[in-house]
């Protein structure tokens, strides 16, 4: 079976400083991957490079993404093109956008994807109905729709809003960059439930996390350890428990 994402020997720098140094990662449809690792290992850089952040420069290697049963060079695509092809990153620090209502933002994003896929765009009324179902997934009430995007949201509300965006855009590859950080157990459950309900045999999830706790709720098929810009260890969910218990030092020797 064709992989959804294929990263080979990826090197990336930010401000001229190398962060990723020969990273390999294959993600098959229907799988959940967790990426763990010490601070500064390059976890957030990896998610930003996949999403296409312009401040990160890829200096070597390849990154391909399956679109219509063909592997497509992701690195040559703009961030919005990647999103339209089904790549989604939940931000570690979601941006506040004053003056733009959450609903307008979600509808604009949704319709950009519909348009790219040749599907009919939804009008306000149709979209509101569709949205209501997605809101229920993350236990958000409609007050959030009239508010400006993330503006004045609590940390937990921002993270739930990211999952709502994911639910609305139904990506084929979702990268969750520390979506669990700073969440209390109730918010964590809501986020995890949302992700679990969106899982399917066609899509894949990559969880970037510091905490094993998230993996009690979203069970990964693979756990990777990212250190010094490379994946240095891959295992199943038991690896996360071992990391929780022993830390990373035993792997870095």
């Amino acid at each position: 079976m064709m992989n959804l994402l294929e990263i080979k020997n990826l090197h990336a720098s930010v401000d001229g400083k190398p962060v990723l140094k020969g990273l390999n990662l294959s993600v098959a449809p229907g799988t959940v991957h967790a990426i763990m690792g010490p601070n500064g290992a390059g976890k957030s850089t990896l998610s930003k490079v996949i999403a296409g952040h312009p401040a990160y420069e890829v200096t070597e290697g390849s990154m391909e993404f399956e679109v219509n049963f063909k592997m497509k060079d992701l690195l040559s695509l703009e961030p919005d093109e990647r999103a339209r092809d089904g790549v989604f990153m939940a931000f570690q620090y979601p941006v506040e956008v004053p003056g733009v209502s959450n609903e307008t933002f979600l509808r604009t994003a949704f319709n950009s994807i519909s348009k790219a896929q040749g599907a009919e765009e939804m009008n306000e009324e149709q979209f509101r109905k569709f949205l209501q179902k997605k809101m229920d997934l993350v236990s958000m009430d409609s007050r959030f729709l009239d508010r400006a995007v993330n503006t004045g949201f609590s940390g937990g509300e921002k993270k739930r809003n990211e999952i709502l965006q994911m639910a609305v855009l139904s990506p084929r590859l979702a990268i969750l960059d520390e979506t669990d950080s700073g969440l209390d157990i109730d918010a964590l459950r809501i986020v995890a439930d949302g992700v679990n309900k969106l899982k399917s045999p066609e899509n894949a999830v990559v969880l970037i996390t510091h905490y094993q706790r998230l993996l009690d709720y979203i069970v990964p098929d693979y756990v990777h350890v990212l250190a010094n810009g490379r994946i240095i260890e891959t295992g199943d969910k038991s690896l996360a428990l071992k990391l929780e218990e022993k830390g990373y030092d035993w792997l870095l020797q």
Binding site: E78, P79, D80, A83, V95, V100, A109, L169
Partner: protein
């Protein structure tokens, strides 16, 4: 000889022959004229006009804009209309009320100067330092717009609201000016409006100002808010790019009153808007926000002044601007906290978005604090659109150009979003959206758009 006086004189001669007005108004006018002859047009040597050059107003002689007979009125559709719900309209053209374009709601009384025998017009409230003057403005500082307005005043419109009135939908006060197309002339008009809001009222008021042609519109408005009254107010400047507006608004507030006021300065070759808020008694609270959009070589200048003349008073202001091309903006925010005005809260913020390297902003806070137990803050930013914000939207499939447009629009609409009064908020959002989409004016659905 003071600057611009020669060019102004024909307008003074012109107003002499205007229709009969009561003696008290003639006296006000001649006191205004005397002041203008002495002071001239403001120049950049004055601190309050340091960044705004009015020399263009001395390029051409001034004429007093015509007072139209009812059968000679230009079409109403030549001027902007309020695009949201309203409870009535008081329209002035060239400083004179137009009954044909006006409709007064119940519990509101509208009178013009001829209905006052002696000068019963109570313009603005007295302050600790003296009376607000209809000729020179505040006792603390001379206001050029007020004397210019007085010198060219054709009429005064006094709006009295009955005590205890609730107007959820705004009363629209339209002050339009319509003038010459001649490049060697300026048509000046000086609308003067006084709104009295007594105790127990909760009212919404929108002022729409617009000029057609080479106009100098000098609208001066006083809003007097009595004990415990609540006012939502917006002033929307849609003057054509050929016109100049020199506006002044004074809002004075008594005990426990609340006023939210929003300035949307969206037009004019030069637009200067002064807003003075007097928090005269304890418990008074004011929110003063503003938005300016400028492009081409347009110049916008806002000067706010908040007088905390009593303890336990609160003010917060947020002015935002988007500048394109070679446009220029000035923001001067004065906050004065008087001695013994303890437990005062005053916040001020001015955020500017520059979409061109040639655009320029001068922003200056001016805090004068004579009390010790107060909270006062100010801040200003001048910047471009944050690339992290653009990336966030692009990561949600929104193309770059659309993302930038959404962010700029959001930056602007943030001001309209804050309006508590729903009808004003909706109208302001519509007007701002049309402006951002490149429409130059907002007119009746039947009307045409002007370039």
């Amino acid at each position: 000889m003071s600057f611009g006086v020669d060019q102004l004189k024909p307008a003074f001669d012109g107003i002499q022959s205007a229709r009969a007005v009561p003696d008290w108004l003639l006296e006000l006018r001649s006191a205004g004229e005397k002041t203008v002859l002495r002071e001239g047009l403001p120049t950049r040597s004055l601190e309050a006009w340091k960044y705004t050059n009015l020399s263009v107003l001395a390029e051409g002689t001034w004429e007093v804009a015509e007072a139209f007979a009812s059968d000679e009125l230009p079409p109403r559709t030549d001027f902007p209309s309020w695009p949201s719900a309203s409870c009535g309209e008081v329209a002035l053209l060239n400083g004179v009320m137009v009954p044909e374009w006006s409709s007064t709601p119940a519990r509101v009384r509208v009178r013009t100067s001829n209905q006052f025998e002696s000068s019963p017009v109570h313009f603005g409230h007295a302050s600790a330092h003296g009376r607000w003057s209809a000729v020179t403005g505040s006792p603390e500082k001379f206001v050029a717009q007020v004397s210019l307005n007085a010198s060219l005043m054709r009429d005064v419109v006094v709006i009295d609201i009955e005590p205890g009135t609730i107007l959820r939908e705004p009363l629209v006060i339209s002050t339009f000016s319509f003038g010459t197309e001649s490049l060697t002339k300026w048509s000046a008009s000086a609308p003067r409006v006084v709104v009295n809001v007594p105790a127990g009222c909760e009212v919404a008021i929108v002022e729409m100002t617009a000029g057609e042609g080479r106009t100098v519109n000098i609208p001066v408005t006083n809003v007097n808010i009595a004990k415990g009254a609540r006012v939502s107010h917006a002033r929307i400047n849609l003057t054509q790019a050929s016109g100049v507006q020199l506006g002044y608004t004074q809002i004075s507030q008594a005990r426990d009153s609340f006023c939210e006021t929003y300035q949307f300065t969206l037009g004019g070759r030069i637009s200067r808007e002064d807003l003075e808020i007097r928090l005269n008694e304890a418990g008074a609270e004011a929110v003063l926000d503003g938005l300016y959009l400028a492009d081409g070589r347009r110049h916008v200048d806002h000067s706010t002044s908040v007088e905390h003349a009593a303890p336990h008073t609160t003010s917060s202001q947020l002015y935002k601007g988007i500048l394109k091309d070679e446009s220029r903006a000035v923001f001067n925010g004065r906050v004065r906290i008087h001695r013994d005005s303890q437990q005062v809260n005053a916040a001020q913020l001015n955020n500017n978005l520059l979409l061109s390297k040639r655009a320029e902003v001068d922003t200056k806070p001016e805090l004068e604090i004579d009390a010790d137990d107060v909270k006062a803050s100010h801040g200003a930013t001048i910047g471009q659109i944050d690339p992290e914000h653009v990336f966030y939207l692009r990561a949600r499939a929104i193309p770059e150009a659309e993302a930038i447009k959404m962010l700029a629009n959001g930056f602007a609409q943030d001001v309209a979003f804050r309006i508590r009064n729903e009808a004003i908020r909706k109208g302001a959002e519509t007007i701002v959206a049309l402006k951002l989409a490149g429409e130059s004016t907002v007119t009746d659905s039947a009307g045409d758009h002007h370039a």
